[in-house]
């Protein structure tokens, strides 16, 4: 790594001030240190934000639950009440990395993490996402890449938690300078849809403070599933999160999001809106799966993601009535 200064912020304002123009926030460090070891990130100062007050608790609420940005993925995985109320979040957390990673990985960091595209992550390749001129994956090795994108970069979002939180209609609270933003997950990743150099909509200096999840009563059900090559400690080839308010097998409202297929947690609002009032069965699940993937544009090596994701969507939906 290039050498840097280090400071431990005690307040949000000083975190921002300390980071300045060329610094970076240090929470869990999995993503940041990984980038820095390849010299893909060279901040002049690392501002440790783990001591910031009020960012490391899980607060239940009758209206919404609050999870601080510094809560670790392991804490989410192990939190009994949180897991019971939001099984989709629990399952997504379980599948993040390894136990060692989950023990330090922060919720904020998981949401903000950078692309895992192997061209982006390669120290000697200047791809489009790094302000180069070419997306190497398009005509190259694209087996892990997107089926949908709005820009020349085809690297997909890989944060498991983003997919689950999208299904839960969570709000992400971010401090941008003196402003406090309240974004949906869609807002958080919107810039990545259009902009090849963007991983998400965050700007330098932005600090994720917490996530607020609307409370769900017993009429809500949720599930998260992913397909990986290895049985554990492997990135998803495709992932799916669903949350639905149900009356028996009848859907009142549903949200379905897909991960690892687009730069953003992917959904088709017309399709999920159309699920309302219908009975969830194998037929509907198949229909929804087909429709969600209708606009998929496979590349030379990732066409397999279409049948894979189709099967995945169906299975995840049918979990709700299992």
């Amino acid at each position: 790594m290039k050498s840097f200064q280090y400071a431990t912020a005690q307040t949000i304002e000083s975190a921002h001030e300390l980071a300045g123009k060329k610094g970076a926030y240090l929470a869990g460090g999995n993503d940041l240190l990984g980038l820095m070891k390849e010299y893909l990130a060279e901040p002049d100062i690392l501002v440790d934000i783990k001591s910031l007050p009020g960012l490391n608790t899980v607060q239940p609420g009758s209206e919404f639950w609050t999870i601080g940005a510094n809560v670790t993925v392991a804490q989410i995985e192990d939190h009994a009440d949180l897991s019971k109320t939001f099984p989709v979040l629990h399952q997504a957390a379980t599948d993040v990395g390894s136990r060692q990673i989950r023990n330090v990985a922060s919720l904020g960091g998981n949401l903000a993490q950078h692309s895992r595209c192997w061209y982006f992550r390669h120290r000697d390749i200047k791809c489009l996402k790094k302000w180069g001129t070419t997306c190497y994956a398009r005509d190259g090795e694209n087996q892990y890449h997107s089926l949908f994108t709005g820009n020349p970069c085809i690297s997909p979002v890989v944060s498991n938690l983003s997919i689950a939180l999208a299904a839960l209609d969570a709000r992400i609270i971010i401090q941008r300078d003196t402003e406090t933003l309240r974004w949906s997950i869609a807002d958080l990743y919107a810039r990545a849809w259009d902009n090849p150099t963007a991983h998400n909509s965050l700007q330098p200096g932005d600090l994720i403070l917490r996530v607020e999840i609307p409370h769900q009563d017993a009429s809500w059900r949720g599930a998260y599933m992913q397909v990986s090559q290895k049985a554990d400690f492997d990135w998803a080839l495709a992932s799916c999160a669903v949350a639905a308010q149900m009356d028996g097998a009848k859907i009142i409202a549903a949200r379905v999001y897909l991960g690892s297929v687009a730069p953003v947690p992917y959904t088709v609002p017309a399709v999920t809106k159309g699920m309302a009032g219908k009975t969830l069965d194998a037929g509907l699940a198949a229909q929804v799966a087909q429709s969600l993937l209708a606009d998929a544009e496979p590349l030379s090596q990732n066409a397999y993601k279409i049948p894979m994701t189709r099967a995945l969507i169906q299975r995840t939906l049918l979990q709700l009535i299992a």
Partner: protein, 220 residues
């Protein structure tokens, strides 16, 4: 909260600026002023910018206190192995993908290669050496030996850290839970089946240790 003024330099609140901002508030008692000054100074001290050159740090490893000077960019793994000669944790990938460097921070398994030494301060650190300080092996180490859950042994310290932590948290895990807890540890020699067996044994479960060696001559 007070926002440092632009000309104060990154993160450093001058006493002058601080006192200036104090003056704009409503009348405060001397005691409150003193208390807030103390808090502010404490915060300033805690937010001190360190590095990029070597910085004095203290680490508490296996119950011992170490004082050394390292740059902020030095990882905990680097310090353990190269400054403190604690070589149980191994460097295999340096990217948080293989678990050979697994140590405990406050009893939780973490990848030492992905932790800066400077941020590991004020957290108790345990390496595999710390599990048998008085020369007595813990249950997991004993079981690894008995079930031959190791070959070259390079991944072994990391697995033992993950497995021992698991048993503290979940004293009677299933094989599936053992797999999930140790998924972050890689072995190339292929000792996994015996690791699962060893951890089950260490948890008190009965394991069958069968070695099927059949004399070829007995096969008619």
């Amino acid at each position: 909260m007070n926002k440092p003024t632009p000309d104060a330099g990154a993160g450093h609140v001058t006493r002058r600026d601080f006192l200036k901002s104090l003056g704009t508030t409503a009348v405060a008692t001397a005691a409150t002023q003193a208390q807030t000054i103390a808090e502010q100074l404490e915060r300033t001290r805690a937010e001190k910018i360190l590095g990029p050159g070597p910085v004095p740090i203290s680490l508490r490893v296996n119950g011992r206190e170490f004082h050394l000077e390292v740059e902020p960019r030095v990882t905990l793994l680097d310090v353990l192995r190269n400054n403190l000669s604690i070589t149980g944790p191994k460097e295999v990938c340096d990217r948080g993908t293989c678990g050979a460097c697994t140590v405990w921070m406050e009893g939780q398994p973490v990848y030492a290669c992905m932790k800066l030494a400077i941020e590991a301060q004020n957290h108790s650190i345990t390496t595999v050496e710390g599990l048998s300080l008085e020369g007595k092996l813990n249950k997991v180490q004993e079981a690894f030996l008995e079930e031959d859950a190791l070959m070259c042994g390079y991944c072994t310290p990391g697995f033992i850290m993950s497995a021992t932590a698991l048993l503290k948290f979940n004293p009677h895990p299933t094989a599936q839970e053992i797999r999930h807890a140790c998924a972050g540890n890689i072995c190339r020699c292929g000792t996994h089946p015996r690791i699962i067996k060893a951890v089950l044994k260490a948890s008190g479960a009965t394991v069958t240790s069968n070695l099927d060696v059949i004399p070829y001559a007995s096969l008619a």
